[in-house]
Every structure is written in structure tokens, then in C-alpha cells.
């Protein structure tokens, strides 16, 4: 809740922010941290590339408040993913864990251009996307550890986080399946005359899936307000894009669906692109947005991430293109914040994550009865069986 509301408010509609952002507390003697909503105009360094569409302007309007919120939010996300890494290594998290660190600018930049009428659906690398849609760090950690206070009551796990009220439809484990689902969400928005778009997110690995093209065909035919957002981190698990795609220019793959290639490590570029694409989609139908991004971790926690790419490449991206560092430089160069103030924000963010972590660790496992709950919304008194059919027979709630 805090993250998404704060980002929208940073767009200039309201001044008050939630969370660890009280300016007075952060002020260094002489000048407080600027949380002004005064517009600042910036040029996006990496140009957009358009396919069958004229790209938007590289001039983007932001504010001190928005940039500060970008920084804080991405930092919380970064800390959360790093904490998840430790949790997994200490065996608090089991099964799959796909970490998003490096890609934060995509979901944070998107949220700055969206509102609560819009929907997002993504694949399994969803912890930060869930946060951006209004989830809390506590419910992410609790879900990862399979506890009661998880956003899916501990029954989904890393890949199955949802927030229907916040317009977040998962969290999907089957590569590519989320793209026609996203077209369906957009169909429903259009059917019910909701002035919103759906962002159906997928990776470079999923970009070759047949059902994506089926979804694109139908959404172009029916003018559905859907944006197909390809988070191109250049590796589908261990397979580099040039080894899996004849054409890795994913923004062009929609053919008759126009596309835009975007620097996915730049929050402002992402925000600009999504703002532009949303306006387009509400009038004309689908567009593809290829976000050029990068993940620091391997595909999942069982992948070191260095057998198919060099450590130099990873550290090179971290040095040159890290999304948090980019915003830090902007905040410092525009004198929105001092080094000390940024350190304070980092400190508060770390504390927020640590507090959520300890609270999540205290959350209990779900009760045994939860094995049989939520199979159906309406069970009609049907029975279900446990592994020992004679011992465990349950009338479904």
C-alpha cells in the first residue's frame, strides 16, 4: 500500500507521503531533504527505439519527491531481494526463488505511470512487482517462508503472489501463460468500460511462446488495452537471447503490433514509455514495450548465474547501469538530497526490511485445515481426502 500510493502521490497530486519519509526527521542542519513536487525536466539519456510507432519525447517531467520515492522504493526492493537470498541459503525458503535485483527500475517506473484502474500480470519473478502493486514486505517474506501471514496464506509461495484489490494478478509459474491471461484482463477492462490498461509482463525466454502471439493477434484484432511488456534481461534461465531467438529485437516481434524499446534500468524512461503506451492502448489497442534490463542474480537460487555469463559482465552492468545508482546521481547532482540524507533513507529502508523479516519469522505455519481450504469458492459439501483416505476425509469448507 505504502509504496504504490507514495509513488502516485509523488506524481504531484498530493504532498503527504507514508513510510520513512518525514522530511523534518531527515533534515541535515541548514537544508532539509527536498520533497518538493515542483517539476524538474530531464532528458532520458538512452533514446527510445520505435517499431511502427513514433517514440515519445526523451524529455520527461519529474519532481524531487518522485525521484526520492524512486530511490527509496528501489532500495527497499533491493534489500528485500538480498534478504530473500540469505533466507533461502539458511533454508527458510524452499523450492523456487527467482530474484529481481537489478530490474527494480521496471516495476517502479511502471507504477509511476499507472493508477488503481490498471492491472499487472507477470511471471514468477514477482516479489518486487507485488510490492509495487501495494503489497507489503512482511507479506512477501511470510509467503516466501510459507507462513500464515503470507499474501497467499502461505499456500502459493514465491511464484504465486496476488493482490486482486491492487490489480495484481500474479505471480504465474508457467512461462508465457500469463500473456493471454493479460489479454483477458484487458478484455474485461474494456468490457466493463474501466478506463484502465493491463500490463502483461514476460521475459525474453517467454518471448518465443506461441500463446504470446495468439494473444497479440486477438488483442490487436479486438483492440484490447493491453501492453505486452518484455523484461529483456538477456537470459532465459541459462540460455542467452541470441541462442533462443532468431530475432532478439523483441519490440519488433509484434509485427502489426507497434513496439518500443526502452532502457529498463532508467525509471524515468520506463515511466515515460508506459505513460505513452497507456495512452496509445486506451485508444488503439496493444503495444509491445521491450525493457532492456538485467538481473544480478542467476535465474533462481539454484543457479549461480555465472556459468553462462561472465562476472565481468555482471559487475560491469552494476557499475554502469545500476538503477538505484542512477537515481542517486540525479538526486545528488540536482541537490535534492545530500549524501548523508541518502544514507539515512538507506538506513530506514534497511530497518523496514529487517523489521518485516523478524515479524515474518514469527508468523506461524498455516493450520493443517488449510490443506483443504480454497479449493473451491463454493464446495456444495463435497468431500476431499488426505493421503490416508481412511483417516483423513474432509467436507470442504
Amino acid at each position: 500500500m505504502a509504496v504504490r500510493q507514495a509513488l502516485r502521490r509523488a506524481g504531484g497530486r498530493l504532498l503527504a507521503t507514508q513510510g520513512a519519509m518525514a522530511p523534518a526527521a531527515l533534515g541535515v542542519a541548514g537544508r532539509g531533504l527536498s520533497t518538493s513536487a515542483e517539476p524538474i525536466t530531464l532528458e532520458i539519456p538512452v533514446p527510445f527505439k520505435g517499431h511502427n510507432v513514433e517514440p515519445p519525447s526523451r524529455t520527461v517531467e519529474t519532481s524531487a519527491q518522485e525521484l526520492t520515492e524512486f530511490f527509496r522504493t528501489m532500495f527497499v526492493m533491493r534489500r528485500m531481494e538480498i534478504a530473500a537470498d540469505s533466507l533461502y541459503k539458511s533454508k527458510f525458503i524452499r523450492g523456487f526463488c527467482h530474484l529481481y535485483d537489478g530490474q527494480e527500475a521496471v516495476c517502479v517506473g511502471m507504477e509511476a505511470a499507472l493508477n488503481d484502474k490498471d492491472c499487472i500480470i507477470t511471471a514468477y519473478r514477482d516479489h518486487c512487482t507485488h510490492l509495487g502493486r501495494g503489497g507489503t514486505v512482511l507479506e512477501v517474506f511470510a509467503e516466501l517462508m510459507g507462513r500464515k501471514d503470507g499474501c497467499s496464506l502461505g499456500k502459493g509461495g514465491s511464484m504465486h503472489m496476488y493482490n486482486k484489490k491492487g490489480g495484481f494478478y500474479g505471480g504465474n509459474g508457467i512461462v508465457g501463460a500469463q500473456t493471454p491471461l493479460g489479454a483477458g484482463l484487458a478484455f474485461a477492462q474494456k468490457y466493463l468500460k474501466v478506463e484502465g490498461v493491463t500490463l502483461a509482463m514476460y521475459g525474453d525466454g517467454a518471448a518465443n511462446q506461441g500463446q504470446l502471439f495468439e494473444a497479440m493477434n486477438i488483442s490487436a484484432l479486438w483492440d484490447l488495452p493491453v501492453l505486452y511488456v518484455c523484461e529483456n534481461n538477456h537470459y532465459g534461465m541459462g540460455t542467452a537471447e541470441w541462442r533462443s531467438a532468431k530475432s532478439p529485437e523483441y519490440y519488433k516481434r509484434g509485427d502489426y503490433v507497434p513496439g518500443l524499446k526502452v532502457d529498463g534500468m532508467d525509471c524515468l524512461a520506463v515511466k515515460q514509455a508506459v505513460k505513452f503506451a497507456k495512452e496509445y492502448a486506451l485508444k488503439n489497442g496493444p503495444m509491445v514495450l521491450e525493457m532492456d534490463t538485467y538481473r544480478y542474480h542467476g535465474h533462481s537460487m539454484s543457479d549461480p548465474g555465472s556459468t553462462y555469463r561472465t562476472r565481468d559482465e555482471i559487475s560491469g552492468v552494476r557499475q554502469e547501469r545500476d538503477p538505484i545508482e542512477r537515481i542517486r546521481k540525479l538526486l545528488l547532482s540536482h541537490e535534492i538530497a545530500t549524501v548523508a540524507e541518502l544514507k539515512q533513507i538507506e538506513k530506514d529502508a534497511k530497518k523496514e526490511v529487517e523489521d518485516a523479516l523478524s515479524k515474518a519469522k514469527e508468523s506461524p505455519s498455516p493450520d493443517s485445515e488449510e490443506l483443504f481450504s480454497n479449493i473451491y469458492r463454493k464446495s456444495y459439501g463435497a468431500k476431499s481426502y488426505g493421503a490416508d483416505r481412511k483417516e483423513v476425509v474432509v467436507t470442504l469448507p
Binding site: Y169, A177, Y191, Q211
Partner: protein, 376 residues
């Protein structure tokens, strides 16, 4: 032997050569009750489905229909005839031939809160979209901790038609019936079709609605109650189509008609067969099945699909688990032959159960002879 039979008085009387007087009386009563039905209305299964969908679309704006040829073509089997004209192209959508894509779209729309009816031209083609039925639809309410339900109906013809060969003849009842999170309905007559379709559309969970192409054109008498727009049938409840004392046949869909014909024939020989029309594969009405078997002491399951791991296997397991000591004979199954569906008419006849009214053949399954065997 007498001890074992003592529970089954009518059969005992039969074996002693007693009169079938009791049986004749009850048969006459049953026939009479049919004549006293409140209306002479007969409708086809197709009309039943069409009217059910029509009424539910009128009642709830969120219900819409999509599939191949459902609109301008009036439906590949004319089940959606007239709906496009009545409700317009925003609510009756012709899709391209892209099952994975349009099924996913339907599931996504249902997640948002609409109520799609997705037609598969046959369920054979649904295999292209089966990931969406199982992983996107069936499991989502559970994985989301109950926050996102999927109120969708997947419908279309299932099982063998006539002469359409191997890729177009598979019965999917067992596959979908295995999945927790799905409801699987199998109507037989017009009353089933209307009541179950309306219940399915109103249901908040994903429903797989398995119709039968050869039943679409069959007419059945229905009461005024069935024709009322508020008529629904409960999901998960089987129907006793015909009461009997000697043998329980549990079956669904087209085979219900076969079982009833066989029961008529067997009645002439003094064998009284109870026919249970499942109506619902999941939830399975184990109570009705077991209560019937406890009465008759003999079970025969009848289905058109493949035998291994089929619907009959689950029914047999359920009866053996819950009513073992009531059985007078081993449970029996009659199923489709364990082969891909052949094209040649004679081979096709051997591949599915038949009601053989005349002489006894060598191959395949003959309900009548198997019933007679089971009653010995």
C-alpha cells in the same frame, strides 16, 4: 450361498422361479407417472443448452460467450444459435483458431470478474489449452489463498461421435475429473442440460461441461419446472433414472441412454436394474452410488472412455472402499476399448460399448450379456 443372497429378496425370488409380480407392478407405476407429467413439452438437448445460456446471459451482463464459430456461423453444432443476434458482438465473440490464446483470455477475464463461457469445438482441441484449464483456472483460487476465483465455464462436445476417428473421439471425463479445483459436469438429457448449464454459469469456480454431439439432436420430455428460468440442478448430485433391486449401473452422458435400454431388455428377463446418472464427475456423488450398491449388492460401471484409470475405476474403488461387505459379486466395468478410435464402421462399433438386443457377439462389450453375467 443362500446366506449371501438373503439380503436380496427379489433376486432370491427370481432364482426360486418366483413371480415377477412385484417388479411388474413397480414398472407399471413408473410408466404411469411419466404419463402424468405436468406438460407434454419435449425439447432437444441443443435447445436446452441454448435456452439455458440465453437466459443466463439475459440475467447477468457479465456472462459472455466465446469460441470458434459461435457467432456468425450460429455455432458449429448450433448450440449458440441466435445468441449473436440477440446479444451482439460484444458478448458473443468469434475467436480465431487459437485455443491456447483464447482460453487464456477467457481465464484472465474470469479472474477480473467476468463470467465467460468458452466453447471448444470439441474437447479434443481443448488439449491445446489444457494448461490454462488446469494451471491457470483450476489451481488459482487455492494458490492465491482464496483471493482470486475463476468463474468460467468450458463447454463443448466430448467423447466419440460417429466416424470422426482417433483425434476427434477422446473422452476427457477422467482427465479433468482428477483435478481438484475443477468441477466436471456430464449432462445426459434435456433436463440435465438446462439445469446443469445454468448451475455451471452461476458457479464461482471453473466448470468443465462435457456435452455429447450425438445427444444434441435428441428430444426429451421436460416439465414446466425445468423450463422455468430459475431452474437449476445441484452440482455434485447424481440422479436415479430408474430404480431397481438386482444391479446398479453407474454411468453418465450418452451411456445413460444405453443403460436404460439395456435395463428395459433385462426387465423382460426379470432382472431389475437401477440406473444411476452421475450428472457430475467432480464432485462425485459417492453417497448415491454407494447407497444404490448397498441396496442391489452388484455394481457395473459403464463409460465410453478408455478403461485404464477411467471414471469407472474411481467408482469401483469408491464402492470397494466404502461398501465392500455389501457386495455379492466383484465390481465390473464396461468401457470403450483400449484402442485409439478406428474409422471403419465395424471397428468403431467394436471400440465402444453397445446395447446388443439380438445374438451374442464375440468381441467388444455387450451391456446385456454382461448384466446377465453379473446377476448370476
Amino acid at each position: 450361498m443362500l446366506g449371501a443372497l438373503s439380503r436380496n429378496r427379489p433376486l432370491l425370488a427370481l432364482l426360486r422361479g418366483g413371480n415377477g409380480g412385484d417388479k411388474a407392478a413397480s414398472a407399471a407405476l413408473w410408466a404411469a407417472s411419466k404419463r402424468f407429467m405436468s406438460s407434454d413439452n419435449t425439447i432437444t438437448v441443443r435447445e436446452a443448452l441454448n435456452s439455458a445460456i440465453d437466459e443466463e446471459m439475459s440475467a447477468d451482463n457479465k456472462v459472455f460467450v466465446m469460441g470458434e464459430e459461435v457467432g456468425e456461423y450460429q455455432g458449429a453444432y448450433k448450440v449458440t444459435k441466435g445468441l449473436l443476434q440477440k446479444f451482439g458482438p460484444d458478448r458473443v465473440l468469434d475467436t480465431p483458431i487459437t485455443e491456447a490464446g483464447f482460453t487464456g483470455l477467457g481465464v484472465g477475464a474470469a479472474m477480473y470478474g467476468l463470467k465467460p463461457i468458452v466453447e471448444f469445438m470439441t474437447f479434443n482441441f481443448a488439449m491445446q489449452a489444457i494448461d490454462h484449464l488446469i494451471n491457470s483456472a483450476a489451481k488459482t483460487n487455492y494458490m492465491s489463498g482464496g483471493t482470486i476465483n475463476v468463474p468460467i465455464v468450458f463447454r463443448g462436445p466430448n467423447g466419440a461421435a460417429a466416424g470422426v476417428a482417433a483425434q476427434h473421439s477422446q473422452c476427457f471425463a477422467a482427465w479433468y475429473g482428477q483435478v481438484p479445483g475443477l468441477k466436471v459436469l456430464v449432462p445426459y438429457d434435456a433436463e440435465d442440460a438446462r439445469g446443469l448449464m445454468k448451475a455451471a454459469i452461476r458457479d464461482p469456480d471453473p466448470v468443465v461441461f462435457l456435452e455429447n454431439e450425438l445427444l444434441y439432436g435428441e428430444s426429451f420430455p421436460v416439465s414446466q419446472e425445468v423450463l422455468d428460468p430459475s431452474f437449476t440442478l445441484p452440482i455434485g448430485k447424481a440422479k436415479i433414472m430408474r430404480e431397481g433391486d438386482d444391479l446398479t449401473i453407474v454411468t453418465f452422458s450418452k451411456m445413460v441412454g444405453y443403460a436404460l435400454k439395456a435395463a428395459d431388455e433385462l426387465a423382460k428377463e426379470g432382472i431389475s436394474v437401477e440406473v444411476v446418472n452421475l450428472r457430475s464427475i467432480r464432485p462425485l456423488d459417492r453417497e448415491t452410488i454407494n447407497a444404490s450398491v448397498r441396496k442391489t449388492s452388484r455394481l457395473l460401471t459403464l463409460e465410453e472412455g478408455w478403461p485404464q484409470h477411467g471414471v469407472g475405476a474411481e467408482i469401483c474403488a469408491s464402492v470397494v472402499e466404502e461398501s465392500f461387505y455389501y457386495l455379492d459379486a466383484p465390481v465390473e466395468r464396461i468401457c470403450g476399448a483400449d484402442v485409439p478410435m478406428p474409422y471403419a464402421a465395424n471397428l468403431e462399433r467394436l471400440a465402444v460399448p453397445q446395447v446388443r438386443l439380438g445374438s451374442v457377439g464375440l468381441y467388444g462389450s455387450r451391456v446385456k450379456k454382461r448384466c446377465a453375467d453379473a446377476c448370476m
